[in-house]
Amino acid sequence: MTLFRNVVFVAALAGLVAGLVLAALQAYATVPLILQAETYEGAAHGHSHDGDDAVGGHSHDEEAGWAPADGFERFFYTSMANVVTAIGFGLILVVASELAGGIAGWRQGLLWGLAGFATFTLAPGLGLPPELPAMPVADLGARQAWWLGTVVATGAGLALIAFRRSLPLAALGIVLIAAPHVIGAPQPVSFETAVPHGLHHDFVVAVTVTNLVFWVVLGSVAGALRSRFSDEPEAQKSFA
């Protein structure tokens, strides 16, 4: 299981670095906006309880269940979630790149990171923009299903374009990338919210840019580490 060990090692190290970078960026770029939006949650409960429209509040936090205390404890758990998921994303990125021949160096890793950003942030974010607390949202299960389907379709589409040198398959890749947006993401019945539009706009930009940095760091570090494992300089020069 040497290969498995190497994959996990590279993913864990790259995930640790990228996760900590992202946690630091979030602490000043996204979390303050989330906290600000939470102040609107009480006001939002008056609106939009019609149909399957649910207010994106988390009143259950106060009613039941453990939640980290505000301040350092909350930041600590956010950072933990960042690092753990970053290692998970790292595993997916390294495995996908190994199937395609392995990442050769940090620059190729950067391109893999950009592909991860397009797949996991840009594509799902087009239909389901990052949400703040107290914003109306459609049914959770439907959104998760659309999110997952969009990620799979976008990833497969990008792989067809990048690794199959064929016009029909490249066209199929574009169709796969566009299809989830033709189908359309589940949307709330009403967009009415107490959260100011400007606050949400800032949040969408902050989430997108912090994720871009995260994926670029994750891919680059994975690529740099991977090239230290491989002792075949020739094989490193190409994807396949």
């Binding site: 979030q26 509040g57 259950h60 453990w66 956010t78 595993l91 997916i92 190994e98 949400e131 989430v207």
Partner: protein, 58 residues
Amino acid sequence: MNSIRTFGTDVSAQSRLMQLAVAGLLGLFVVGFVGFSHVEAAHNAGHDYRHSMAFPCH
């Protein structure tokens, strides 16, 4: 045998796919658990993270 030299190690094609599949599933499980968990404590612990990653939340 069709042994492949990859990632600094010699493995058979079958073993290579198997090891990559296990590592990939591990990654999907980790991301799925933190990003999509409906467990209350896990949900609250990762709340700000999921919002900041634009995972569907709530």
